[in-house]
Chain length 652, copies 3
């Protein structure tokens, strides 16, 4: 088993070389094990074309190495230098309005530009050759936050050409494509692949099938871009881990697919910034402004755990106020520790803080670090020292076991309902989060997984909200799973071509529950379809006809089946409000034989193997004795303070 470790992100190129060894010593002293470096340094690694300057990086790596630190080395491809952009200006992405996205910040490249991809091959090859065998380098990070700043979709000529070839490879004949997209509608038929356009700047919305394929293509381009780097690195550093740092609430490419080329799925966790940017209402944002949404980080831990083939971690943990949200408050006292243990409770290999020292210049100068700009320790520096000691005391290991509950999260579904929300507030991500939150408030540890047979094997309960176009194989796997299954609204409603499922939704899922969705409607805020005493549907509801063996469990006051059941398969015919969600899940848990915990509102629980963690996201100390029972707390108190963390070993 793997010890859980702490790390930090560091930019030696920002500071005089004379400072490096002192930084390294402080890192070591405060309990950090590894350091990520290099990922934005192209202009220093190759100041002009072909003039490689790796010496400083060698010295930096050596300095860290000598201090006993491991290194994660980043490829610098998120920030091509100006000379490169000037050499091939057409490497820029074009935005949906057709404007070239210029040099002057980062991520100024189009994933489909072959010339740029070759430049990346070249710099990665040189770096991998130079550092692949360095004993300090434990892992390589490819690029940085793929897709950040809305960079997955590009409407460039390079993207257009590549998309045409992608369509050709997928459909082989243009007739097949026309059929799949339903291009007879509005005379949108193409006569050759070279006539295909990108789906931007159309007079009204483009064909959803067209949009979906463009989204799939764009995701594939990111995966392919990453794969080239991974393959080069593996050649030169066969023993190093390869990772990438994903983001939160970000679905623009398929993270499962990209992760096939990674060893470690890392992600960048900014609880306060993410909360500010979320769709939560002002009251919620105000309430949790200093701790973040109690379920948001956990959701991503559980999701990226499913991505990482050999592990997962937090690469950038918010250590103080950041600079990029609409408002940027400081974390509550204790929040950094709370977030760190939440990750470890979910089985993270490591939590790494961003960044070591606040830079006094450029775009992120207001982003706090472990050190202040003047090198004095900031609050989080002390937090880290404390956490490090606690980790040692706990002898914390990566131990996460398979959870009995699997919640399906699917990138195509996220794209589908963004393309066709049908009601303005139908957000796939928000809907999945509703279910996740309810499960977590019931004290359950959850695996967030893709819709594959493997992912749902041996589960007690499988929850499938709004799954766009399940494969026949997945429907089969559900049928044979033996677990209780809860299907959500819109599940199975389309084919992979983005057409309405044959003989009405839920299409292939009718295999497991014999219903037909004869009508759907979206509901404006304030409109509610009430179920006497059980809550209500909001935003979305469906009307079903029930086939053989299907009975209504809940019925709406206007007489429609709200929750249908066929043995251990349920279908929920709308977007549940909190009350309905709770009542409905209670029924489902009962059938599934799942027992839950009765948690105070802001308390959350997570098991990492036998280790149970309890977290207090509330503003006041809360008695958790009932949850601890006879166990001995290894950290924390039974009256768990605000932002407090408690841990104990379960005996069962």
């Amino acid at each position: 088993m793997t010890r859980q470790r702490l790390g930090v992100c560091y930019y030696p190129e920002h500071w005089p070389q004379s400072r490096w060894s002192e930084d390294a010593a402080m890192m070591k002293e405060t309990g950090l094990s590894f350091v990520r470096i290099g990922e934005f340094a192209w202009s220093r690694l190759e100041p002009s074309e072909g003039a490689y300057r790796f010496e400083w990086l060698s010295r930096a790596v050596d300095t860290l190495h000598r201090a006993g630190l491991k290194v994660v080395l980043g490829t610098p491809t998120a920030t091509p230098p100006k000379w490169l952009v000037d050499k091939m200006p057409e490497m820029a992405a074009l935005d949906a309005n057709g404007r070239s996205r210029k040099f002057g910040s980062r991520r100024h490249y189009c994933f489909s530009h072959e010339g740029y991809a070759q430049e990346c091959d070249r710099i990665v090859e040189h770096l991998a050759r130079a550092f692949g065998a360095h004993p300090a380098i434990a892992a390589w990070q490819t690029d940085n936050e793929y897709g950040c700043h809305d960079t997955v979709l590009s409407y460039s000529p390079a993207a257009l050409q590549a998309f045409r070839r992608w369509c050709e490879a997928k459909y082989r004949s243009i007739e097949t494509l026309n059929e799949a997209w339903g291009n007879v509608f509005w005379s949108m038929e193409y006569r050759s692949f070279d006539a295909i356009e990108l789906p931007n700047l159309t007079v009204t919305e483009a064909n959803p099938s067209h949009l979906m394929d463009f989204q799939r293509f764009s995701s594939d381009q990111v995966v392919a871009f990453n794969r080239r780097q991974a393959q080069i690195i593996r050649r030169h550093a066969p023993d190093a881990m390869i990772l990438h740092n994903f983001m939160g609430a970000f679905v623009d490419f398929d993270h499962y697919a990209l992760s096939d080329d990674l060893d470690i799925a890392a992600w960048d966790s900014y609880p306060l910034g993410f909360l500010e940017r979320s769709s939560h209402d002002d009251d919620f944002k105000l309430r949790y402004m200093r701790v973040g949404d109690p379920d948001f980080q956990a959701f991503h831990h559980d999701l990226y755990r499913a991505c990482g083939r050999r592990g997962w971690q937090v690469m950038e943990q918010q250590p103080g106020a950041v600079n990029w949200a609409p408002w940027n408050p400081a974390p509550a006292k204790g929040a950094v520790r709370l977030w760190t243990f939440e990750a470890f409770a979910a089985g993270a290999e490591a939590v790494s803080y961003f960044r070591w020292r606040q830079a006094p210049f450029a775009q992120e100068q207001m982003h706090e670090g472990l050190l202040l700009p003047n090198a004095a320790p900031n609050e989080a520096y002390h937090d880290v020292a404390h956490i490090s000691k606690e980790l040692d005391a706990l002898n914390a290991q990566v131990e996460t076991a398979r959870a009995p509950v699997a919640l399906i999260f699917d990138y195509e579904s996220a794209w589908a309902w963004r393309i066709e929300p049908q009601g303005q507030d139908f957000s796939y991500f928000d809907l999945v989060m509703c279910f996740y939150r309810a499960l977590r408030r019931a004290g359950l540890s959850v695996d967030v997984v893709p819709p594959t047979a493997a992912a749902i094997a041996d589960r007690t309960l499988i929850i499938v909200p709004a799954l766009f176009a399940p494969s026949y194989d997945f429907a089969e796997a559900l049928a044979k799973s033996g677990g209780t299954v809860l299907l959500g609204p819109r599940a199975g409603s389309k084919t992979g071509d983005f057409q309405i499922a044959a003989d009405l939704p839920p299409g292939v899922l009718r295999r497991i529950i014999d219903i037909r969705v004869k009508r759907v409607e979206s509901l404006r805020p304030g409109a509610r379809i009430t179920l006497s005493g059980h809550g209500a549907f909001v935003r979305w509801r469906e009307c079903l006809t029930l086939g053989e063996g299907v009975a209504p469990e809940f019925t709406s006051e206007d007489g429609e089946t709200a929750l249908a059941r066929s043995d251990s398969v349920f279908y929920l015919a709308g977007w549940p409000d909190e009350e309905l969600l709770t009542n409905m899940l209670r029924r489902v848990f009962l059938v599934a034989g799942i027992s839950t915990l009765d948690l105070p509102e802001d308390i959350r629980v997570r098991d990492n193997g036998a280790m149970r963690y309890i977290f207090n996201y509330g503003a006041t100390a809360t008695d958790i004795s009932a949850l601890v029972a006879e166990a001995t707390l290894l950290i924390g108190e039974r009256l768990l303070e605000s932002c407090g963390v408690a841990a104990f070993r379960r005996r069962d």
Copy 2:
């Protein structure tokens, strides 16, 4: 007299030919009389340049014919195929930002592009030659929903050249144009027609005279585009009706002018979608989410009746949930029938549903039809069968008589106040709707008409809100009309050149009431100019000086004349709130000698000749005995259910 009929919109090209005859049989059986087809099928009619493929359309028409159905054949010019766009890419419209509006949905053409117009001539000529004599084809529809998706205004080079020639034809000398536009202001003077620019991308707002002429020009281009098709069709199908399907709340071109080339003015009625997109507040939208605004459809019926030279109809009636509004709820039980009879009550020749069968693919896959995607009957299918029988029982005919009340609706006025709202919420359409709603709530049947002498002849009451620039002839006609006249705020305030009327507003209307508007002001939400006990002005108010023979009927608390009167002519000096509107109209009705009905809040009444219809837009059953009195109900009950329709013949 004409029997009132039902129809449907159908896309044979979406379905296998083997299905057509069954569809036709079902149509006939459910009581439909006619079918609209063909209007988006260019890529199937001419898959490559000059390769006409009309056989399938012939077969489809024949199939319908054999089933005893009539056909409305659409020209496919709203959806030029890709090969045509590739042949002449400059046929695209440019949006106000100068971006080309691309292929990939529909309406991707610029009305000013002569090359595209010739292609349209060609395809229409071929179609008209092929089908002009077919006995099934009762009518031709030109194009589809001109202007939908904001396509009237185009800023293309073709539009620029055409606009210059339009200006030259109108003004003859550039000095005359400079004078008319007041171009001395800000040195905007042109030295030749070829120096004129389109009024987009200016540093701050363009000259309102410039904007107005560009809007007039753009409207004229639509009219001319339509006329070319109409003339070709008439040559080959001299006995067929020519129609076009207009939209709701849409004023981007002059529908009166375009209708001079039509026989039938049709329109597309989507009560729920229109409500969602309207400027009503959330409470109103929630209240009527399943029936629509009780007055919106009726307004358009009354408007398009004034457009159709030989009749009018609904071409696309919403039959279920649609896909294009921010939220898309399902209609209330009974709502489709309610809407259908509302149209017949207003004298529609026909109501046609959109569409026969929900398509499982492309942009409108979430738009319900009479059949579900799997061909099973949807709710509206049954509604239609029911309605059809009731129509037979009623022996329903087009009987509408001239209404005693005329409400002026003028497209130039809509453009004018959009160009120069002066207060952010001054909407001409909303203001006219205020008056319309108040008239309808008083139980009156209204004609919505253009500002012409003919339209106001023999009226008891003529209401003229915010009429931009009345002609001298219209002012004369008002003076001689003999009816009571109510002028609204901003009426007569400008000349046709978009200059302030000579010697102050109301300009030529001073001919009928001797006042001068010495000051106007717009009022932010919450600001009210109160009239003790009579209500208040909101949004807009004017200060008047009164001339000979004019007396204040209402006065504001700050001492200004709120309602001026000179014999049977009234001038209302602001935007009335509901209370003021009611009180003021009561006074006006009294002078006009108009008697009104006392209707419960959600009840509406409409006479079609001697047939009186009563509608219940409310959520609860309502007693309408007082309205029915001694008459015998032909349909409906005296306790009129929610969404209920009652009808009886008046004896007077």
Copy 3:
């Protein structure tokens, strides 16, 4: 001393020549002394290239002269005629999206285009030669409202080239620039000045140092553009005043710097339009909708007084409803007089109304004037006659003395916090206005001044909120000033390169108070950092460490120093709500030995030398006896009516 005078803006080119002498006579009769003309008349002065037509202007000037009026002659460079734009289309500015800003309104030029600048030299030279010696012409206005309609920043090729040269001149070596901007961050390093890009259309936000230098450059371009005109005019009209008309709440260029080339700083005061466009909430806007923000005009008077080397004035005073705000109500009765005396109370040389007569055509046709479009006197015409007589009675002179309180207002700071607000609602202008409002509500007359040693000499109290990057010299001057100093949040937090101040904020200001800002945070609406009983911080707060000699005066409930003090220097560590602002200033006034007035809510006071003015911005008459005491009112009553003005001479 200078008599305070009235004037008006006039457009003889809009009216027939036959009308001019009657206009002039009416102007004289109503008490006006001078007339501004000519500033938009280029197309009449030079209808085609080189064809100068100055005769009409001569006749207009002579007509005014003969009537005893002085003239301010404007250069017409804000409105280049169409032939000039057609000759050099690349003179257009490009907006941030890269779109050319077209002809058709005004200000359609890029400040960096040398070709256009030469055309301006030429027309100004011709005008100055023709009219420089005319005895009627007392002053010249350069251009009109520089920067109006967002025209300071241009992203044109001309701007790009000029910016590169500007950077080169500033930094000399590209390494120095890279260092100053911190371009090592994200590999943004440039290898030559010719590689520099403009900071628009970047993928995410550009480097703040880059944005700041681009803003400085853009401001410099405006200053240089103005200087060329000023130098030409001075050569030909050495005795005339040179002025420009600034705007309100407008900070896009450095008005202090531009004013070095002016004699008179004029500004255009539209109290109602500015209120509508402000960030005030709806209640405030509704409350003051007819009088404007009681402190907004006064602030600008006090600011532009610091700009004018030889005086300042109002060039365009709103006389009625305008046309350009979201809503445009009419002023309250008395408001025009109130605004006029507010300017004189602050020491204005003149107040000039915009415009003489409402034009019936073009963009501003809904903007009221002293005359109605039909030449009848409008309300303000009568107001002016009245004001003129009162001015005579008062023998009103420019007398303003140096105020004991100086409030620092700095354009770079406005740019800095717009570039890096860090919290969405952190507006420098709003913050300074908070302080200004509080000072004025305490009855104090204030000088708004730049951060220079000269400006703060001999002040009792110096208030320095959020000063971006104070120079060492200014810090020195503060240290030696002898006055009480109040530093506000973010003061001294950056270097001029837009980097965090060395050894933490407040950087060079630590010279006067030994603190360090170790953390800052922005607070969403509703979040408050409370100080028991003293109010709260909103929007922004900082955490300090206190050095030698510094003690906390106020402490927040969470234990941080909210107001630090070191002798007579205070540092306020956040954005104060109204309660905290009042409590904190009370403490500061006490230390400074400043006595204040106890004013009713809507009453304001301003001293012009010995003359004290009292204004009532409220809706009801208010007793001001306590403020007048034994003095004799020269105008106004002790029960001061709504919109009332009172004046008396203080004896102290």
